[in-house]
C-alpha cells in the first residue's frame, strides 16, 4: 500500500511540475525562446506572493489576484523591452540574456529577502486530508493543486487550439514573416505569449510557496524539473507536458521510497531513459 501511496503522491506533485513546464513549453512553442530564467521567475512570483499576502494580510491564494496582473505586465514589458531584441536566427543571444536575467533575479531576491528559506501559510488546507479505502490518504492541498494544474493546462490547450489568439500564436510560430503579412505584430504576439506564460508561472510559484519552503537560489532546480517535464512529454504538446510532469513526480517518489537520497536522481534517470528511447518525447506536437 505504501508503494501505491507513493505513486499517487507522485501523480499529484506531477501536476505542479507540469505547471512549471507549461509556461516554458508555451514560450518555446510560440517563439523558440529557451528561457533560462523561468525557474527564477517562478521563485520571484512566490516571493511577490509572500510579500503581498503578509503585507496586505491576504490568504496566499487571494494574493494571486494582485500578483497575476503584476507578473503578466512584467512579462509583457520584459518581452517587448528586452527579449524580442534577442530573437533571431542565432539561439545564443536569448540564452545569454535570460541567463543574465536569472542572475539578476536571484541576486535581487537575495538582497531583499536574504538567503533564509521562506514559506507561505495557507492554513488548515495544507494538512487536511481525504481518507481512501485501503488506508490510503490524499492531502486536500496536493489534490486541489493537481486539479487546478489539469484545469490550467486544459485552458491553455483551449486558448491554443480554439481561439483567435491561439491561431495567431501558432501562425507566428510557423512563419513569423508570413504572419506579419497577415497583420500580426510578432512583437505584440510574443509579448502576449510571455504574459500568459507569466500567469502560469505565478500560479506555479504560489502553489510551490505554499507546498514547500523556497529561497532565492531555488529557481534553477525548478527550471530543470520544467525542462524535464517538457522534454518527456514532447515539445509543443501541453497534455504531453502534464504526462511528463506526472512521470517525473512518480519517478521521484518511487526513488524516494527506495532510498530518500534517490528522489531527485530517480527523476533525472526517468528523463534520461525517455530521452534515450524517444528523443522527441512521448507525444508529438499537436498540429491543426
Amino acid at each position: 500500500m505504501d508503494w501505491i501511496n507513493s505513486i499517487i503522491q507522485g501523480i499529484l506533485v506531477g501536476g505542479l511540475y507540469a505547471l512549471f513546464a507549461a509556461g516554458l513549453s508555451l514560450i518555446f512553442g510560440v517563439m523558440r525562446l529557451v528561457n533560462i530564467a523561468h525557474g527564477d521567475l517562478i521563485i520571484l512570483s512566490a516571493f511577490l506572493g509572500l510579500t503581498i499576502s503578509t503585507s496586505l494580510n491576504l490568504h496566499p491564494f487571494i494574493s494571486l489576484i494582485v500578483v497575476i496582473p503584476i507578473m503578466a505586465i512584467f512579462g509583457y514589458v520584459l518581452q517587448r523591452g528586452i527579449l524580442n531584441k534577442t530573437l533571431g536566427n542565432d539561439i545564443l543571444p536569448p540564452l545569454l540574456v535570460t541567463f543574465g536575467l536569472s542572475i539578476i533575479i536571484q541576486n535581487s531576491l537575495l538582497e531583499i529577502y536574504t538567503a533564509d528559506p521562506q514559506k507561505m501559510n495557507a492554513g488548515v488546507i495544507e494538512v487536511a486530508s481525504l481518507s481512501l479505502p485501503g488506508g490510503l490518504s490524499i492531502g486536500w492541498y496536493p489534490l486541489i493543486m493537481f486539479v487546478i494544474s489539469v484545469l490550467i493546462i486544459g485552458i491553455l490547450q483551449f486558448i491554443f487550439y480554439k481561439t483567435a489568439l491561439g491561431r495567431a500564436f501558432r501562425a507566428t510560430s510557423d512563419d513569423q514573416e508570413i504572419a506579419q503579412l497577415m497583420g500580426l505584430s510578432k512583437n505584440h504576439i510574443f509579448g502576449l505569449a510571455m504574459a500568459i506564460s507569466m500567469v502560469v508561472v505565478t500560479i506555479a510559484g504560489i502553489f510551490l510557496g505554499v507546498r514547500t519552503s523556497f529561497d532565492p537560489a531555488a529557481g534553477p532546480s525548478r527550471l530543470i524539473f520544467g525542462f524535464e517535464a517538457v522534454i518527456i512529454g514532447g515539445l509543443g504538446n501541453l497534455w504531453g507536458t502534464l504526462i511528463g510532469g506526472i512521470i517525473l513526480g512518480v519517478s521521484q517518489n518511487i526513488g524516494a521510497k527506495i532510498n530518500p537520497g534517490w528522489q531527485i536522481l530517480a527523476g533525472h534517470i526517468a528523463f534520461i531513459i525517455v530521452l534515450a528511447f524517444r528523443p522527441k518525447g512521448l507525444f508529438h506536437r499537436i498540429d491543426g
Binding site: 501558432r170 506579419q180 503579412l181
Partner: protein, 234 residues
Amino acid sequence: MPNKVLETKNLNAYYGDFQALFEVSIDLFEGEIIAIIGANGAGKSTFMRSVTGLIDRIDNEINYKGLSIKGLRADEIAKKGLAMVPEGRKLFPSLSVEENLLIGGQIKRLGPWKLNTVYELFPDLYDKRNIPSNLLSGGQQQMAAIGRALMSNPDVILFDEISLGLAPIIIKSIYQNLPKVIQKGMSAIIVEQDISKALEISDRVYCLQEGRIALFGESKQLTRQEISKAYFGI
C-alpha cells in the same frame, strides 16, 4: 483618371550590403492590374517584399494612397489594405485550411470577402476546410493562399509567382478565377514568369532585369521582340 494607389519612386533595396533593386519606379492605379516579369534574380520578389515591408533597408519612397509607407512594419502595411499571396504559397502548416483563411481575416477590414464568399470562389477548399493545410495539393494550396489574402479585404493584392510549380490545368483554373478575385476597385500586381499569361491578364507590364526596369508599357502594345530583349538582355 483613376487614383494612384501605389507608387515607388526610384526605389533601391538592399540585402545587407548587396543592392538588389536600382531606382525602380512603378505606379499602380485604382482598378488596374500590372504584371512584373523578368528572369530569375531580376528583383521581382525583392520588389514585392520591399512594398510589403519585409525588407529593412530601402532607399527613397513607397507611397500608398498618397502616404509614405516606407519604414512601416509588414503588419502595419497589411492593416492599411495591402495583401500578398507569397511565392510558394507559404500556408501555416500547423493550422487547418479554415484557420489559415481566418488568420487572413483577423485584420477585420470591411469588404465582400468572408469565409463563405471564399468557399464560393474555391469550392474545393470547403470540403477540405478542417484538414491541415499542408495536406492540400499544390493548386489547392494556391487557392487557400489567395483566399487567405482576400479575407483581409485588401485594396491592393500582390501575387508573387502565382503559377510557380503548378500543373498547367491548375494554372488555367486560377487565371480563370482571377477576374472574380480582382473585383472592381481592387488593384493587383502579379509577378509571373509566364510572359503570355502576364500579358493576357494585365493592363500594363514592367520588365525587370538585374534589379532595374528594362521595359514598361501597356500590355497590348508591347511586342514579343521588345519583351524578349528586355527579359533576356540580348
